[in-house]
């Protein structure tokens, strides 16, 4: 067997994930997290009539982020993740889980060089890419605006 044949052979004998079943689980858990977000949204609107939608939205995200962080600390979120996969990675709670789990993992190297330095090991690229792309879009928007 050469390398190409071996790769094809390995692909053949590798067990397949149950695609539909795992998609369904991701759909349900992901959907429920979003539903929770919508519920919080309605609740905050009722409690805080003076807030505008942007502020309410920030509060909802913050609540979800905090909840996911606590669940990570209690060792529950990784179990949810084992069940749901993308269903709990894609929501903002997954972003929070990636930060808190790294913070916990590296705590033993100290607060500065462990927790603080490694917190964004997984989530860092999200902020870097997000900020960069927003600035790029902003630059385009600004230039276009000059000519309109």
């Amino acid at each position: 067997m050469d390398k190409a044949e071996y790769a094809a052979y390995i692909k053949k004998i590798t067990p397949k994930s149950k695609v539909w079943c795992s998609l369904l689980r991701a759909f349900i858990v992901g959907g429920l997290i979003c539903l929770l977000g919508e519920g919080l949204n309605a609740l905050y609107k009722m409690w805080l009539p003076n807030y505008d939608q942007t502020q309410i939205g920030a509060l909802v995200s913050s609540t979800l982020i905090f909840l996911a962080s606590v669940l990570t600390g209690l060792g529950v979120y990784d179990k949810i993740g084992y069940f749901a996969g993308g269903g709990s990675i894609v929501p903002i709670t997954g972003f929070s889980n990636s930060i808190t789990s790294a913070a916990m993992e590296f705590r033993k190297e100290g607060i500065i060089f462990g927790t603080c330095a490694n917190m964004f090991k997984i989530a860092g690229p999200v902020i870097v890419v997000g900020t960069a792309i927003a600035m790029l879009c902003g630059l385009g928007y600004f230039i276009v605006g000059l000519f309109l």
């Binding site: 894609v90 709670t93 999200v126 928007y141």
Partner: protein
């Protein structure tokens, strides 16, 4: 009604993420990054706002909402303050989420020990 759509649309976005995980060898970090980019693109194409009216938290809770929010904030700040808005807009709009993520991560990281199950 918006509750139903939040569940359905949110669930679909997450299922799309799961499909990417299953069909590609992408790491979770890469999935998160691509959804942020997707959100930003949807915002620029002015598709995101109507989606948000329709499905609410169904599109803002997935990390796509983070990308869209960054772009939205940038545009709004440019409208308000001009050139400087390019730099200040994005992170200002998303500051609450990032701040809470950092502080709760720090707090929980100091309080709890990680365990293998």
């Amino acid at each position: 009604m918006i509750f139903l759509w939040a569940f359905l649309i949110g669930g679909l976005i997450c299922a799309l993420g799961q499909l990417l995980i299953l069909k590609t060898n992408w790491t979770p970090a890469r999935i998160l990054v691509s959804f942020v980019v997707l959100g930003a693109i949807l915002q620029v194409c002015t598709v995101f706002e109507p989606l948000k009216k329709f499905a609410g938290a169904g599109v803002t809770t997935p990390i796509t909402g983070f990308g869209a929010g960054l772009v939205k904030g940038t545009f709004e700040n440019i409208d308000k303050y001009g050139f400087i808005g390019i730099f200040t807009g994005g992170l200002t709009a998303m500051s609450a989420g990032i701040a809470v993520a950092i502080v709760s991560g720090l707090m929980i990281g100091m309080l709890f020990k990680s365990r293998s199950k």
